[in-house]
């Protein structure tokens, strides 16, 4: 027993140490997570809920599929604007919630979501020696001008995924209007000094891919895209494309031009696929003729193939969104900064007061419970940070209740311990009995709490008050689970440690003086 107890105590200390490392300092970067994720009501931002406008005969499978695509599309659009930790999620069957923390312009936010995405296909710009043009060639110019003067539409400078950079990435866009050339970076800011981007010299200059008649190949000509498995023995995920009649002809004309037998992966043989100026993928053309369908192969995982197919399909959203949004909210951040600070103080003082009360009332067990409470708060914060759980005002409410639950378990156990001691048991036996007897009440009250949390979470996933109600349910649920561990395992382990140190025969430490015995 003693040896096992020591091991448990060590495990507890390891968990505690790990949690401390995770949360200190609170805005540090740990395991890929930075700081706590705060809800919109704390940091300010924009919250929009859209109703998808499906035709009446859409089946629920169609809807599910379209909703997935819509969520991915909106996510992509927003990612390009560098909003930190946006939340884009499906609500109920046919609604989409978009939360943009820190975003203050509600009109711009709506514009971002409601825009129809533009899917187009591009090829590398070729100079007069037949060589592909790179961004470095533009950086080297004294005066910006298009290198292939025959093509006057804009250039997109983007790195394909094959390089060391990982994800394909758009660096800048160069456009001409009259005699003036404008270079903007990926988020839309004008770049005055080209050399500031010179580290991206390896980006390819992409021009619009056109058929022989000059018609550009765009998403409108794409009939569908779907993830499939290749027809090989070791089947690999790929994306299959289907063009409409006009698209089939234009695509073949382009393929004939870009195809080069036996060539390697070089820019002039690639077809770049762009959504809203962002490069999605740059497959190599492997055949001079496709006859209306093609597959994009590569080292895709199933998920990646799914996502690419979704994006190809969703150059525009798969269905229109009803305007104005069902629910729109802009929360000013002014409430935020100070509020968060005060909440921390309030939380800290609340916990300290509770600890003071527990120690004054229960003495040694109270002290142990206070230690358990510190471990509880630390582990909880660590989970909030790593999960990450979005902390909102409602989440704060859940946190308070869960502290109550954590303390409650200890109060139950200690009251029980005193009773058992008064009935004539030794302190050691009374402690064990206290834990055993209190267990059924702790278990039942936690299970009813879990039932409540699960149902609230479900409510949150369908209704409008979603974020708040879900936040409450999640924090309370996690809190109740952790409290079962800290209030029972942690307190019991430490109490046993103390008893092993000869503190069992000093009843005053347990506020049960001999009088009543």
């Amino acid at each position: 027993m003693t040896r096992n107890n020591t091991i448990v105590a060590l495990i507890i200390l390891v968990i505690f140490g790990f949690s401390l490392w995770t949360i200190l300092p609170i805005d540090s970067s740990r395991l890929g997570r930075e700081g706590l994720r705060l809800g919109l009501d704390l940091v300010g931002g924009v919250n929009l809920v859209y109703q998808a406008d499906f035709s009446e005969n859409a089946t629920s499978a169609d809807k599910g599929d379209a909703m997935d695509r819509a969520v991915v599309t909106i996510q992509k659009r927003i990612d390009k604007y560098g909003v930190t930790e946006p939340i884009i999620q499906q609500l109920g069957e046919d609604r989409i919630m978009v939360q943009l923390p820190g975003f203050t312009d509600i009109e711009a936010a709506k514009g971002l979501v409601e825009q129809t995405g533009f899917l187009e296909f591009r090829e590398a710009e070729i100079d007069d020696q037949g060589k592909p043009v790179y961004f470095s060639d533009y950086v080297a110019q004294d005066q910006l001008h298009f290198i292939d003067t025959g093509e006057t539409a804009n250039r997109i400078f983007a790195l394909p995924s094959s390089g060391t950079s990982g994800e394909p990435r758009t660096i800048a866009i160069l456009s001409q209007s009259g005699a003036t050339m404008t270079l903007i970076d990926a988020v839309g800011n004008t770049v005055d000094n080209v050399t500031s981007l010179s580290q991206y010299g390896g980006a390819i200059s992409w021009v619009i891919a056109r058929g022989d008649s000059g018609v550009p190949l765009t998403g409108e000509l794409l009939e569908s895209a779907e993830p499939v498995l290749s027809q090989e023995i070791a089947a690999k995920p790929e994306v299959s494309l289907k063009w409409n009649a006009e698209g089939s002809i234009i695509f073949d004309q382009i393929a004939k031009r870009l195809y080069s037998p036996g060539s390697s992966y070089e820019p002039q043989y690639l077809l770049g696929i762009f959504l809203d100026n962002g490069l999605l993928s740059a497959p190599r053309i492997n055949s001079p003729q496709f006859g209306g369908s093609a597959v994009i192969t590569g080292n895709f995982t199933v998920d990646e193939a799914d996502e690419l197919a979704n994006l190809l399909n969703s150059g525009s959203l798969p269905m229109p969104l009803k305007k104005p949004p069902l629910f729109q909210e802009k929360i000013s951040a002014t409430l935020g900064a100070n509020f968060i600070h005060l909440s921390w103080i309030a939380g800290l003082i609340g916990v300290l007061l509770v600890m003071g009360f527990m120690i004054a009332y229960y003495r040694l067990p109270g002290l142990v419970a206070s230690i358990a409470l510190v471990i509880y708060s630390t582990v909880l914060l660590a989970i909030f940070k790593l999960w990450p759980v979005t902390l909102s005002l409602a989440g704060l409410g859940g946190f308070i209740v869960s502290i109550g639950i954590a303390v409650d378990a200890n109060v139950l156990i200690f009251e029980r311990m005193k009773e058992e001691f008064r009935m004539g048991r030794s302190m050691g036996a009374a402690i064990e009995a206290g834990f055993n007897r209190a267990w059924s009440a702790i278990r039942d009250s936690n299970i009813t709490t879990f039932i409540a949390c699960i149902i609230l979470y479900w409510l949150g996933s369908t209704a409008m008050a979603s974020a708040a109600v879900q936040g409450f349910a999640i924090t309370l649920f996690i809190g109740a689970v952790i409290s079962m561990f800290t209030a029972i395992t942690v307190t019991r382990t430490f109490l046993r440690l103390f008893i092993g140190r000869g503190m069992a025969d000093k009843p005053w430490l347990y506020t049960v003086g001999g009088g009543k015995k």
Binding site: F327, A346, L393, V407, E419, S440, A441, D444, A463
Partner: protein, 306 residues
């Protein structure tokens, strides 16, 4: 036996009845003032750089074609305008007109909820509460399956929870009627928190009754209940006290923005401790002893001697 709590059960029922009556009357008279989350329409909060007079501001809003709009001052040179659902262009129109009249204006906050959502929120909340009740009823009935007629335990458990919710909502409605408080998400959060605490309190008392039954403390259910109430009283008060401490700390330091949460929670905490400790076991005793007749005046059977 030092105290006889259960013997006074009808006094507790009386207190309960008064609370419930007050709640129902208040709900019928004042109702609940729905905040933006529960009604449709738009709320626009604007902030001016310069001094703006309330009356002039209201005149301007009326002149813009929103005579029904509710205008409130919500800070220094900050006003809240509540209207029907605004379209983007209507909103921009208001902001442009205000800029022309009063100078630089910043949109501090904007909410807009379509009528469909408002109806749905209420409906879904009711469904969730109903499902939660059934879930608890089933679980408690199962957890107390070794007791005679476990279904009664489950029912009394759920009644205690409903009682708590009703009284909390009712008293809040009274405050709403007197002080003009609206129900908002903070209020809902407070209610949810109350459910959590109320559940715990009731379970603890019931658990002790279950244990005392199994241990065979007495053949008289009334004595079993009374012992259990006394034995768990210390725990219930201590727990409520610790929760009270954290909540008050929150109120003192965070202040008015969470006032609704704290007030709801405190009302519910008191009501919940009361009904869990005194009412729910009493109901169970009444049911087990078949004393329903005593609720009908003038037909009182003689009180059984414990």
């Amino acid at each position: 036996m030092t105290y006889n709590i259960i013997g006074k059960r009808f006094w507790f029922f009386l207190v309960s009845a008064v609370l419930i009556a007050v709640s129902i009357i208040s709900l019928a008279t004042y109702g609940l003032k729905p905040g933006i989350e529960f009604s449709s329409g738009s709320i626009l909060t604007v902030q001016f750089d310069t001094q703006v007079d309330y009356d002039q501001f209201q005149q301007e809003i009326t002149a813009l074609g929103y005579p029904d709009a509710i205008v409130q001052r919500s800070g220094e040179n900050r006003f809240l305008i509540r209207t029907g659902e605004l379209t983007d262009s209507e909103k921009q129109g208001i902001e442009a007109a205000l800029t022309t009249r009063f100078g630089q204006v910043t949109e501090a906050q904007f909410n807009s909820v379509s009528p469909m959502v408002a109806a749905e929120t209420t409906r879904n909340a009711s469904i969730a509460v109903a499902i939660a009740m059934i879930g608890m009823l089933l679980y408690v009935t199962w957890a107390f399956r070794r007791m005679p007629s476990p279904f009664r335990w489950g029912t009394c458990f759920v009644i205690a929870m409903l009682h708590d919710l009703l009284v909390t909502v009712g008293i809040f409605s009274l405050l709403g009627g007197l002080l003009g408080w609206e129900i908002n998400l903070m209020f809902i959060t407070g209610l949810l928190a109350i459910v959590g605490v109320s559940l715990d309190n009731t379970i603890v008392v019931f658990d002790r009754m279950r244990e005392n039954m199994i241990r065979g403390v007495s053949a008289n259910f009334e004595i079993v209940a009374n012992n259990s109430q006394i034995e768990t009283l210390g725990r219930s008060l201590n727990t409520s006290l610790t929760i009270l401490i954290t909540t008050l700390a929150l109120l003192l330091f965070v202040g008015a923005s969470i006032q609704n949460f704290v007030v709801t929670f405190l009302i519910g905490l008191v009501a919940g401790t009361f009904d869990s400790v005194f009412v729910a076991p009493g109901l169970l005793v009444v049911w087990n002893k078949g004393e329903w007749g005593r609720f009908i005046p003038f037909r009182r059977p003689s009180l059984e001697k414990a």
